[in-house]
């Protein structure tokens, strides 16, 4: 019975199929909002679904000189990492399926797994563009990861717990965006860095390095990485919403809040231009990390 339950929650709900489809919906919402900000019509609602099916049905080319097991294994590991992270996160304002003290840290590391896999995939592809892309992906990981973690630690420290369920119960009565505005801004921008959205899309800058770490991927591998990215988007948006925008509450209100967050992200995407990789790293360590540390310091002193 236990195993059956675990299999259901990984395959269908809350992880698995439902998450993949909501990932597609979030991706569509993001693309559509950016399109509307640019005053154009934008993609149709089934666009990410069509993209995914098309990629899954395409030929998968294995370049010469790559390690076969890594080449085909990495996309699967990346996607499963993202899906596993969803088990501990209150997606759509529904209580997480599993919970234990310290699951916040586990979730954050599972989320980084996707980026790590992308970096490894780039190294493994043996193409100069993908190697440059991989280097940038990993460099950027070191830039935003620490401030993002610190920004999510703020609510955790305020709630005196490292368990997502308890933190969320605490934030329900305390709007963290009011109490810790700096943390919110850093978490939001850190999320954009995690998802490699503009202005942090230097790792896949198609005008310089073709498609970054995924240059050599075609067909299924590319599709799995794409799905992993949109799943990560759902998880990230849900986490930031639950931590900073007043906890879980009603699923419908939660959805409205996450859509509001997406709107802000789409706005930032369409008004900002791509940063160079050294500017990204400099900004995160000079401004982001220090501000996040100050926030935590203030929290410790005032508490």
């Amino acid at each position: 019975m236990e195993t059956l339950l675990a299999i259901t929650s990984i395959m269908f709900f809350p992880a698995g199929l439902s998450l993949i489809f909501s990932g597609m919906l979030y991706e569509w919402a993001d693309r559509k909002l950016v399109a509307r900000f640019q005053n154009r019509v934008g993609p149709r609602w089934f666009q990410p679904l069509a993209d995914t099916i098309k990629l899954l049905a395409k030929e998968e080319i294995q370049p010469l000189g790559v390690n076969q097991a890594l080449f085909f294994g990495l996309p699967v590991v990346a996607l499963s990492g993202a899906l596993t992270a969803a088990l501990y996160v209150p997606i759509f304002g529904i209580q997480p399926a599993y919970s234990f003290p310290g699951d916040l840290i586990v979730t954050l590391y599972l989320l980084s797994l996707l980026t790590m896999c992308m970096g490894l995939a780039g190294w493994n592809s043996a193409s100069r563009f993908s190697i440059v892309g991989a280097t940038r992906t990993l460099t950027q990981l070191f830039a935003y990861e620490a401030p993002f973690l610190l920004a999510l630690l703020g609510p955790a420290m305020a709630a005196d717990s490292w368990q997502i369920g308890k933190i969320v119960a605490y934030t329900e009565s305390h709007w963290m965006i009011v109490l810790q505005p700096v943390g919110f801004v850093i978490a939001l921008i850190g999320l954009m860095g995690k998802l490699e959205l503009p202005p942090f899309d230097a790792p896949e800058a198609e005008t310089e390095i073709v498609a970054g770490a995924l240059t050599e991927y075609s067909g299924r591998g590319l599709a799995l990485f794409h799905i992993g990215r949109s799943v990560e988007m759902v998880i990230g948006v849900s986490l930031v919403t639950a931590f900073y925008l007043g906890g879980l509450g009603n699923p419908l209100i939660f959805l409205a809040k996450s859509l509001g967050l997406l709107l802000v992200m789409a706005f930032l995407q369409s008004v900002l231009v791509r940063l160079r990789i050294d500017q990204t790293v400099g900004m995160w360590w000079r401004a982001g990390a220090i501000l996040a540390l100050l926030q935590i310091l203030a929290l410790i002193v005032l508490k």
Partner: protein, 166 residues
């Protein structure tokens, strides 16, 4: 009847064809054009014409692309590169030749450095005439190619009527 392999095959083919028609990702290659056609293609990609409506996206990597949009005659230098880009694309793949030069060699026909038109190097699926064609004509050409894909066969070359896009 529902479980016969024939039926399943039909459903799967239907779904993949639908996905293919609704999500064509293009890659753009200039094999020796005067740049006029390329400027028009870039204009087509701007928000003003918004080809994301049809699911069309410009991709940098040939490995991600479905449609190779090429312009200009094929020069001796560019021939190898054009072939390489084409061979790097995963199946199923299609080629669209944009501009008079791509169709017949245009003003460059017979030059000492030119191999010929694109048809002599690659199997072209759709031709878009014009010197250079307007963005509307390019969109029209790609959409016509997609309409042919809906029937599930590799399209016969489409040569739009002259005066179609006046």
């Amino acid at each position: 009847m529902i479980t016969t392999p024939n039926f399943i095959n039909k459903v799967v083919t239907g779904i993949t064809t639908w996905a293919r028609v609704n999500s064509p990702w293009i890659i753009h290659f200039n094999s020796g054009s005067c740049n006029g056609c390329d400027i028009e293609i870039l204009a087509t990609l701007t928000p003003y014409y918004d080809i994301e409506r049809f699911g069309i996206k410009l991709k940098g990597s040939p490995r991600h692309a479905d449609i190779l949009v090429c312009t200009g005659p094929v020069t001796r230098q560019a021939r190898e590169r054009l072939l390489r880009v084409y061979e790097q694309m995963p199946e199923p793949k299609f080629v669209v030749a944009v501009g008079s030069c791509g169709i017949s060699g245009g003003t460059f026909a017979g030059c000492y450095n030119v191999v010929g038109h694109i048809d002599e190097v690659l199997p072209v699926d759709a031709y878009i005439p014009g010197c250079p064609p307007r963005p509307e004509a390019i969109i029209d050409g790609v959409v016509k190619l997609l309409n042919h894909l809906k029937e599930g066969t590799r399209p016969q070359p489409i040569r739009p009527e002259i005066g179609d896009h006046a």
